[in-house]
Amino acid sequence: MLLIHCPYCNKKRPEVEFAYAGEAHIERPNGINQLTMTDEEWSNFMFIRNNIRGEHAERWWHNSGCNMFFNAIRNTQTDKFIMTYKMGENLPTEKQIKAAKK
């Protein structure tokens, strides 16, 4: 079974406890922006995602564990989790990702 490292529990836990929750680092427009946005901009925010082949930043949810959302860098080809980090932290730089691979 695939083991996923949860940054809140700080432990590797079985994959059945987790749920995928879409691409990470997509900022929801604030209230005022929502009023002035065009329909196209809104639909872009809602539905248009990068379908990356390779290293992908995505959200995961430890729903049957500590019940927290966190972000992960995962290779979509090999299904290997390169690193996971807490919500609110910045997208890791290429350097950090390279270091995590070692």
């Binding site: 809140y8 529990c9 700080n10 079985p14 059945v16 406890e17 049957s64 564990g65 500590c66 927290m68």
Partner: protein, 180 residues
Amino acid sequence: MFEQAVNISLKKSDSFECKVIGEQLRYSIRMKQDFVEKAEKICGFNIPRNIGEVESYDKILCMCLGPDEWILIVQPKLKLQFDKIIARLNNSITISITNISDRNIGFKLKGKKVQKYINSGCPLDLALESFPIGKASRTVFESVPILLFRDGKLSFRVECWRSFGPYISDFFKRIADTND
């Protein structure tokens, strides 16, 4: 009817024992870590701060499930005392307390093969080094969300939603019947 469905009769053996835990008071608590110290003073017992840690007393069990989530399991005798504590908590800090006494049902599992039987439905590593005595965790057992607490080397406590009770007890009965 419900009691009949959950209270399974297992063959008496040293290798496995599964018993339903009777009536308990259960509270689900959500609060920010900043309030823990204040809450401790009001409650009069220690509240664990790290995920998976448990403070256990004779009649009180306080488990930390997430960075801002706790489960409190108390003997029903202390109902009056805890009504007062909860009222005081509500008045002094920002906290969410939900009474889930009837939502959950608890099982006590014991025996030489208990680890093996739990692992037949739950992928968690139950070795003593990674899941020591006195640790608790929410996890899944045969796709049912459960709360697993280790209170001894060969003794566990499982809590799940009441509606899953018959399913879980039946599952243990089947494993015990086919393995013994």
